[in-house]
């Protein structure tokens, strides 16, 4: 079932970048994959079916304000996905395909009940930032554990990836469990690597959690925007640190590598 990977060109990974009204980061996400030689495609939810889902070896839910964040950030997008594709998506995930949510996408995966685990209903929430403000600022993330989206990164290293959100505070009754089972992938920190408070933690997330994965490590969500840190010159301080590299790029390289090896 579904199309198999092309054997001759290892880079031809088809990536579905899912969107609805209000999604607004799909272009940068698309460009990131395109730049690395993959085959991304922007697909409106109304065009994705349980069959065509399997044409893609990776599914991304990008950032934005899907449905205006009305009711709750990500809630409407999640409800619409659930009504169309829930069992297909469940099968997709169980088959090990990588599914990534960035910012609004993370909110969607949580509302869908695919993160922190496949439950079908929300067991976590990305709530209103403690500051009650939209926070657009550079953030530093420490990699705690690996998943499908991080293999090109190093555990313990600090990565510079910007945040821009009003509802990013991760809360969940399952946090202790997530810490134990190595499902916490990124935590906000300061330049010294300490788990500091505001503004290094821009939203007040418990344990400074910025990104988590599911038990199998193939579904992942993060609040900061790696597609906005793909090139050196997108960094906050690139005129000072010209050789700092672009950390967001590693996220995309990692998932393509993972998808290739599936």
């Amino acid at each position: 079932m579904g199309t198999s990977l092309m054997e001759d060109d290892g880079m031809s990974i088809n990536v579905c970048i899912l969107r609805i009204e209000g999604t607004n980061c799909e272009q940068e996400t698309y460009d990131a994959f395109k730049e690395l030689g993959a085959q991304p495609e922007m697909v409106h939810l109304t065009e994705l079916t349980p069959e065509t889902l399997f044409d893609y070896q990776c599914l991304m839910v990008p950032g934005g304000f899907s449905s205006g964040d009305y009711v709750r950030a990500g809630a409407i997008f999640a409800a619409r996905i659930k009504s169309r594709l829930f069992s297909a998506l469940k099968e997709y995930v169980e088959n090990g395909y990588p599914v990534g949510g960035i910012c609004n996408g993370f909110q969607v995966l949580v509302e869908l009940g695919f993160l922190p685990r496949l439950s079908g209903y929300p067991e976590a929430c990305l709530a209103t930032n403690d500051s009650a403000r939209f926070e657009c600022r550079p953030t530093l993330l420490k990699l705690e554990n690996h998943c499908a989206f991080t293999q090109k990164m190093e555990i313990g290293k600090i990565y510079e990836i910007p945040s821009a959100h009003a509802e990013g505070k991760f809360v969940s009754p399952l946090i202790e469990k997530l810490m134990e089972s190595k499902q916490v992938i990124f935590r906000y920190c300061n330049p010294q690597g300490e788990y500091a408070g505001y503004p290094w933690n821009p939203n007040g997330s418990e344990y400074n959690i910025a990104g988590i994965t599911n038990e199998e490590g193939n579904v992942f969500g993060m609040m900061p925007h790696p597609e906005r840190a793909f090139f050196q010159y997108q960094n906050q301080d690139w005129t000072r640190t010209k050789n700092n590299g672009a950390h967001g790029r590693l996220f995309f390289e990692s998932v393509l590598e993972y998808a290739r090896r599936l």
Binding site: V71, P122, E123, T128
Partner: protein, 73 residues
Amino acid sequence: MKAEVKVELKEGVFDPEGENIKKALNLLGFSGVKDVKLAKLYTIEVDGNDNVEDMCSKLLTNPVIHKYTIRKG
């Protein structure tokens, strides 16, 4: 049938918007304001048997942070 669904934050969940509104009111001179909490009120007009409880669990609330009450009229 008209149903009113009131969605509020659970006890113990920090309400940053409420906090900020309280601060703003205090700054405007309303020094007596001690607490402000926000709630969302959905007024839903339904024909037929659609279950309002289901609407709450499928879309209107996130059980991790919300509690809700339904009033049917």
